[in-house]
Subunit: 580 residues, 2 copies
């Protein structure tokens, strides 16, 4: 490709609405162009990256035995009503009426349509397992689209759906996709981690997020550097930090703590370690009648150590809280504690409630908690002596760095990540709702076991840049760079030698199947180099008259701090070696 | 590819709603699956064809210097309001409101968005010409979607848009695209014709439709077999069939024609040739005030020969009719002719109107027309003698087969065609509406000259099948077949020799880059052959134990009436030769 036949549009400054580095750099490098809130034109430079990402995904999906099809962007509401998602999904689901007033949706995913295909096409156990995928435009009407392609409204997604005869086979399909995803992200050249994730109402342990490691990531990834344990923060198990409960050594003492309503302030005032304090969180659950009116509420007190945070996903899995919970109202708190928030604790309650202690809290002795009286805390609190044992002991907190790994093989660490893929065992959630059955060997209909597997194609661009950039611009991995090599001739219009050498090198690299761009725009060297460093082409060859006089050209990798002089005759071999 | 890793789903019968052969065969071959009215899932077999079509289009567009980008499916209404299309387009334009109540549309084409890009990105004459294209999902909310992919609601289209500094340069861009389209349709392996088409309000002569020749096509293509003249029926020029007007030889005679209200009936009754009769068509134009109310109407009488049909597009270009016309009401007809339709003619009018005679009618003598009295016609009618010369003589009829070619090089013929591509010079229609200017050499802003160039990607599948099928199924051209070669082993599960030979042949062909499918499903020969004839794979190799004993396999091209025996050792060379 020659630059003169392409479209290059770089900016010195990013627009003001670009908040994060990948958004800024994609705008500056002319990869995307804003059309509206969360809507982007993928400009020629960006589209080349998308196509390379798609190609890698497609080839590994095919190799894994998945079969590509294409489901429509505009989908009839009827199917979405069968699963209840037409009603259940919030305003993120873009709904539209056609000229006859019939309801349609713009697809955010395709579970309903693919299950409709499966229930018609996959009739017999002999046709299973089957995995259908497509790479298609998606739309999610985000309330606050931002961060460029990271949280856009229209985006490209690869979504795959597996259909199996039983749970064991579905497990193999899941593992197969997990393996394919590893190959995909390896080939994309990204540092990533597959982390166990919550399966919500589906249950089971088969849900993994593929997270691209980046300090700017929205997600916390928990992992053990000395084992293969990795999970997202919602799921990562927090063990008790105290192996057993110590004996009481202090008397229960009501201590004045005027104005100190947080554990940190109390610990500082009392010159205690924050790990001696206990935090009280008050939740409530409601029992509804058929009309959806609240007929009864139950208040819950959840206790975590002062330096820990409540994990709401874990709390939501407890018996009694599974059906959904909310934070208690000030009225409910006053009725149960006789006190406003800030000085709450489990001792001397006005009305009965359920107490859940985190595993660590349940083993604490001589701890500090609120006294249910403004400006007072208890110190020297001990289970059994000062208050009854908790109703329930459970893992209800987020892990923190330094926690023991749940596999017993080390200590947990935390990284930031950007979720770019997700593999998920669906069970019969959709097949049951849509009666997607196959006939087994005995001719009996059985529900299909399903899995779904997504990759955010356009989001990968943003994640790759968050992970790979410097002050000069993007640094693309070789496999997804818009061009792998750029040949920059200096003074091509003045020097036949430069022109000939550049043209020949361009041809030679093309002949080897290397994706090379010849910058024949005639820009000055500084502007030309700045453009390609911003765009992030990983390999650059500079050809100048001065160099050619010594038979030399300059090679510089995008991460190299300086250029390497190479004999013109050696540059092709050198690049072949680098691109291996 | 092995069949066991793919998804094959064929049907003996097409669903009842499939009206045309391509729709029936695509459904039966498992290429598409209906999701809703005008909405289809592209199943794996169909998607392979689409990808091959897209690949050919993309490579020729790139070669022609066009640059690919990707514009969103969901587009803000604001841009469509700038050109007025948001209001002007009918219910085919799918409109949608987002969660904030803002208006969006689902793109049917992308003139507005690409012009918005151009007015921001193409600032200088140095950046012109430029041609941007994308291959993207489109939606047109057809009132009556039908014929499968031929008139669906959601479809894939390649749309390109050129931007030039002046009319001459725009003409070169147009010719460039015209040439690229010829290469594309050549490579697609389709018989097609590029026909001149009407440019409507844009004017000029730069609009061509690319029509795939098929007897079942909706469009009439006019061409001259002895020259390169070709146009669609809306545009094709009809010359006067009489070089000059003959002298009057008959008296004007009012003749009873009871119940004979058509030219054909009158000619039969009077034992005259239909070419002696003249047909009267009554149109009306309205003058509106600022409130859009009709303040004045004008009635027009258009005369074409009895065996000819009015061409409304041509009529719509006449001075006075350009602003739009309608057929006259019965009231208007009675007021001007004193007679109901069926016996109308230009003699003895009650009120003045404008008379337009087709070129041929203007040269007729001794003709027959209605007498403006029920059950009576005039015979022996002659211009000048019996009625004044027409107000206007013009080409207002459709050409018919046998007409002289307008280039004087032969006689016109008519074929049926399916429009799959269109190249169109837009002028400054969109750039003026959206103020898309560039700075010329003197720094003065100038409107960009535009062209648009569409290819109906998914429609090509239907058109290719309408052109290439037989009673057994589809016959794909090599270049877009879902698989180029199918290897059919007979009794692969029983015979190691068959299995080895088939597997080896599959590998050898794959190694040559030939898109081959090994049918390892274990189907019986009859069912297997029927499937591949239905699907339309152009080349088939059958491997059987009996054949192998003689060292032979059977090759059959999809159009061949019988198989050819080949030595197993020669089959690769034979296929290489066939696929050249």
């Amino acid at each position: 490709m020659k630059a003169s036949q392409f479209f290059i549009s770089t900016l010195k400054e990013a627009p003001a609405d670009a908040e994060i580095v990948s958004h800024k750099l994609m705008m500056r490098a002319g990869m995307i162009k804003r059309l509206g809130a969360g809507l982007y034109n993928y400009m020629p430079m960006g589209l080349r990256v998308i196509r390379k990402v798609e190609h890698i995904i497609r080839s590994e999906m095919d190799r894994a035995g998945a079969v590509e099809l294409l489901m429509p962007v505009v989908q009839p509401a009827e199917l979405w009503q069968e699963t209840g998602r037409f009603e259940k999904m919030g305003p993120e689901l873009l709904r539209v009426k056609d000229r006859h007033g019939r309801d349609f949706i713009i697809q955010p995913t395709s579970e309903e349509v693919v299950t409709d295909i499966a229930r018609q096409e996959l009739r017999s156990y002999k046709q299973l397992p089957k995995n259908f995928y497509h790479i298609q435009t998606k739309f999610r009407d985000e309330r606050r689209p931002r961060f460029g392609v990271m949280r856009g409204r229209e985006f490209t997604m690869k979504d795959a759906y597996s259909f199996d005869r039983d749970v064991a086979s579905a497990g193999r399909s899941y593992e197969n996709m997990y393996g394919a995803y590893c190959k995909i992200f390896d080939r994309l050249g990204l540092q990533y981690r597959a982390v166990a994730a919550d399966t919500g109402a589906i249950g089971g342990d088969r849900s993994h997020e593929f997270q691209v490691i980046a300090d700017t990531g929205e997600d916390a990834i928990i992992y053990c550097p000395t084992s293969d344990y990795a999970a997202n923060i919602e799921l990562a198990e927090a063990l008790a930090l105290l192996p057993s409960r110590g004996a009481a050594t202090q008397p229960l003492t009501k201590t004045p703590t005027p104005g100190k309503s947080t554990c940190a302030d109390v610990a500082e005032l009392l010159k205690l370690d924050l790990t001696q304090t206990v935090k009280s969180l008050v939740l409530a659950t409601d029992e509804l009648n058929e009309q959806g009116e609240v007929v009864k509420s139950q208040v819950w007190l959840l206790l975590v150590r002062g330096d820990h945070d409540l994990n709401e996903v874990k709390a939501g899995k407890l018996d009694g809280l599974k059906g959904g919970f909310r934070f208690a109202t000030v009225g409910e708190i006053e009725a149960h504690f006789g006190c406003k928030p800030g000085y709450l604790g489990p001792i001397g309650l006005k009305a009965p409630l359920k107490i859940v202690a985190d595993r660590t809290v349940a083993n604490m002795a001589d701890f500090v908690c609120g006294a249910n009286e403004p400006d007072f805390h208890f110190t020297g609190v001990n289970w059994g002596r000062d208050l009854p044992e908790p109703d329930l002991v459970a893992d209800i907190r987020n892990v923190v760095a330094g926690d023991p790994s749940p596999d017993g093989k080390g200590v947990l660490a935390i990284q930031r990540g950007i979720e770019v893929g997700h593999v998920f065992y669906l069970g019969t959630k959709y097949s049951a709702a849509m009666n997607a059955t196959y006939l087994d060997e005995t001719g009996k209909p059985q529900l299909m076991e399903m899995g779904c597997y997504g990759i955010g194609v356009t989001r990968i661009l943003g994640a790759a840049i968050e992970q790979n950039h410097d002050e000069r611009g993007i640094i693309w991995p070789d496999s997804i760079a818009p061009f792998t090599v750029v040949v920059c001739p200096i003074g091509m219009d003045r020097s036949e030698a430069v022109k000939d050498a550049a043209t020949q090198l361009h041809q030679d690299l093309q002949a080897l199947g290397i994706d090379v761009l010849l910058d024949d725009r005639g820009e000055r060297p500084g502007a030309m180099f700045a453009d390609w460093e911003l765009v992030g082409v990983p390999h650059r060859v500079v050809i100048s008259d001065r160099g050619l006089k010594e038979g030399q050209v300059e090679y510089q990798g995008r991460r190299d701090t300086e250029a390497t002089k190479l004999a013109l005759a050696d540059v092709v071999a050198h690049l072949k070696q680098r691109l291996k």
